[in-house]
Symmetry: C2
DNA sequence: GCAAAAGTGTTTTACCTACACCCATGC
DNA sequence: GCATGGGTGTAGGTAAAACACTTTTGC
């Protein structure tokens, strides 16, 4: 297929790195892996891999995540492309960063394929290789910005959740306390949650009503330009 | 420097494409160029070029813009990386899109180096090659989103401008009419403009006060997490 | 009966919105 | 003196923010 038109141009290695956020009903976590090849073998890193010639970026990100953790059907979003010339000392490599949010209360998502992969709370995360810390910072900023205008984070919760859990998630993302009553009435007014008859009694004697995300309603609202301010 | 670690990985061509928005006090425009090489020679395209091995993306974007238009010291921002496998029929090529805003009232920015480059109003822009129309759409969406929460667009204006001009810019970006009084009091309350004693008499007999962007104040506010809602 | 978490409303305040008239000047 | 664009303020509604007590139940 190649027409030889671009023969003189440089070809470059393209990596994909994934910032995987998880929420375990209490804290926001991030998935890291101990690198098992040079350079920087043995250091902690984001999960990543190289883009193959016949692949699009979204596929590569999905493949990398699936391969190193067994996780699949995870919603990922492209974040930014990092290009500092010496960011990887082994070779000139660009990296396209992706980020995702996953629900750690589902046991199958909590168990990781590789021994070398591990969940860290954001505060305890070690220093990472290359520019990976920068990537995490940027992903965190994006997550925060999105959380303020979109009901992001349904990917980070089990199918059924309590208002308390939802609020804790938002508090973890935004890193501040929110008022319980205002939070609830805000989400009620958005009209994208279904209140179930069931209760969750795992964390209290009284039990808390479970809610579900109304994906249909939300989709319709998004099409009309839905967004809110928390 | 290469450690041979990544020898088996694919290397890929990386392009940089620039969506250059301009504002001439009346309308929002976009800079396009008639392509003078294959494939798609003679068709309209964004300005673009290939990333060189020793270059970072921001530099490549700047170089491409400078080389094809003579424009320099333009603020650009990375938008998104496009990776559809057959987006360029000549060879597998990824493209990192950048966007910029420039002020067309300064005569030196209005004159273009190459005959083949031309400013189009958004409505009159022709169909573009590859996925460039998609890039423009996405850049436009980003610009709109940013305009609603940041005093973007100071890059699109001369150093001194009237409130009327600023409002017209916002109307062009958001594609709707705004109320004069509300707009002015909004911007006044943000406290990032300096009202000058000078007036601009080019568009009226009475003359309109000129304003300047207070970069210092704005920087301080940004550090404190400044943002607004228009 | 008390500890622990759930649930629930009201008041105040800030901001957004809609709206219309006078002013200064050049011709 | 009139046409053209420039400048200005207020009132009403909506949404955000602050705030405290009662309920349920297991122990």
């Amino acid at each position: 297929m190649t027409l030889n038109t671009y023969n003189k141009e440089d070809k470059i290695l393209l990596a994909v790195d994934c910032i995987i956020f998880g929420f375990d009903q209490e804290e926001l976590k991030i998935l890291l892996i101990k690198r098992n090849f040079e350079p920087e073998q043995g250091k902690w890193s984001l999960i990543g891999g190289f883009l193959k010639k016949e692949e699009i970026l979204d596929e590569a990100a999905t493949r990398v995540l699936q391969h190193l953790t067994g996780l699949n059907e995870i919603y990922m979003e492209q974040l930014h492309t990092f290009s500092k010339v010496d960011r990887d000392p082994a070779d000139r490599t660009l990296s396209v960063a992706y980020y995702a949010l996953i629900d750690l209360s589902q046991p199958d998502k909590n168990t990781l394929l590789k021994e070398s992969a591990k969940w860290f709370t954001l505060k305890d995360a070690p220093k990472l290789i290359f520019d990976h810390n920068l990537m995490v910072e940027r992903a965190m900023a994006r997550l925060r910005r999105k959380a303020l205008s979109k009901p992001i984070g349904f990917e980070l919760l089990p199918e059924k959740f309590t208002m308390r859990t939802l609020q804790k998630l938002y508090e973890a993302i935004l890193d501040n306390k929110l008022d319980k009553r205002n939070f609830i009435s805000k989400f009620n007014s958005l009209d994208i949650l279904i209140k179930l008859k069931e209760k969750d009694t795992s964390s209290s004697k009284k039990g808390a009503y479970l809610f579900q995300f109304d994906a249909e309603k939300y989709k319709r609202k998004v099409e009309e330009g839905f967004s809110f301010k928390l």
